[in-house]
Symmetry: C2
Subunit: 338 residues, 2 copies
Amino acid sequence: MGPVAEISQPERVAIIGAGVIGAAWAARWILCGSDALVYDPGPETERIVTEVAENARHSWERMGLAPVREGSLTITKSIEEATDEVSLIQESVPESVNLKKQVLEQIEKSAPESALIASSTSGLLPSELQEEMRCPERFLVGHPFNPVYLLPMVEVVGGKRTSADSVSSAIQLYETAGMKPLEVRVEIDAFIADRLLEAVWREALWLVNDGVATTEEIDDAIRFGFGLRWAQMGLFENYRIAGGEGGMKHFIQQFGPSLDWPWSKLTNTPDLSDQLVERISSQSDRQSGHLTVRELERIRDNNLVDILLALEGNSWGAGETVSGLRDKLRGSAIPQEK
Amino acid sequence: MGPVAEISQPERVAIIGAGVIGAAWAARWILCGSDALVYDPGPETERIVTEVAENARHSWERMGLAPVREGSLTITKSIEEATDEVSLIQESVPESVNLKKQVLEQIEKSAPESALIASSTSGLLPSELQEEMRCPERFLVGHPFNPVYLLPMVEVVGGKRTSADSVSSAIQLYETAGMKPLEVRVEIDAFIADRLLEAVWREALWLVNDGVATTEEIDDAIRFGFGLRWAQMGLFENYRIAGGEGGMKHFIQQFGPSLDWPWSKLTNTPDLSDQLVERISSQSDRQSGHLTVRELERIRDNNLVDILLALEGNSWGAGETVSGLRDKLRGSAIPQEK
């Protein structure tokens, strides 16, 4: 591939592997107006793809995102047919290195030379997957999150032999699908998001294993509490606020030492050196130093309120707690008026 | 304390320690109509409490939660004054066992005999904190989440000497404040939510330490991706959906083995015995077996859509990505109409 000019919305994309992830990729692309050519050897492909597209359409309608012209959705009979004249090939077959390598080999046989090839793997290294490819420079990982037609995040990870142009093209292509690509600059197993998810998952398994909490109690601990914060600000930004006017440095100084307490099952921690503390607080300053803690608090609270109202509208989770409070406050009007 | 009848909204509560957490407790109680008596030896107490209450009022107005009659907010000069005729005393002083024990000793000197005493500690064990108390049976942990006036979660944890009545009363009291109490049945360090938070925090520190990602990239990986899921369903329920029609058992069988891959820095994992797999899937069935995966998907997607719209209304995070997509789809109408 030569140097890349501005990338426009792809006319045709190939979706190889159509489980939950592949089918949802197809749905996102057709709703954005691209044609999707899908290949999966499974007997249920048509049903799965159709059902997922239906869910996606329902959601986009609810968001008021009416596609100007929905792209066509074609279930093909081979990888060769699916990759015909496409500019992006998204591989989403099961997480097996060997299977993925075989599929990539087949993709390369028929893919147009100019097409990017991306894998949806949630943790396998692109350097390994591209080892035997003929044109490894156009291969990378584009790791999305379920449901792909709604969550904007896609981690873009190049391997040792991926060209910088391919990474940049992939980012632009995914942006045309209304996504938020995050370039993972250092190639590590499980990338960024799944390392965080896995850490929580392990700890949660211990809690269930040890009989401390049930799956429902753990889910409740998340969705009535910090999960509401994370939908909008993530980890560090919330802790920046928790540090109050002292900011991130104050927070780490307060909270950091407790990391060495024998709390969680997994207790290996990085040394909180001055250098690491400095790195975290200066990164946090670059991220949101333009806002005061008061301003951040107000933004957080406004977002929380609107998320709670959204959930209340659906009579779900923390929204139901708000409903209960609303009823209570209304109800308590009666004795007051006596 | 005798057996507990139905608990009604407390007329007066004492807030001992008025940092971010204590001040927000006071705000929640006064907005619910209870009077709050606050004590903190710091010079800035009045300012902090007033500012936090102002933030809380703003949020409740935005939620359309108008208090029928706002409770009074009194900054007192001593613990004795603050605990006068209250039915709940909420201790929120810094996380030091010795400091908390000293404060609890003082609280016991003046607290009405019928009052419950709760600590906001995010990880210290109630059994340890109550060791030297005269009436340990009425002491427990009520661990809230920042911002306390918006997040419904409060973990209720009794110690070895806490009476069952006290736990039950605390749950009912917190419910009168519009909260979602979660009884932590097994007393462990850091309870439930903070063990999960700490696991993520450690992994995130490694990512920053190793130069893999910045604080902003980590926050983005969360808030544009799985954070949006967690605001409404937590961990297991989302994985139940990911398991598709095969459910939770299928998910664990697929995802479980990768826990033994050397992905995250902290690799000690519980043995995925048949017994543990069975426990998780049967708990998950009890939690949401009354809904099909299709129904769960639809609920999840409707919630996600409304959370995304809420964030779009505030021009924030993943909501901005949706705005961009909306503009793009509108813009692309022009060439189509030519």
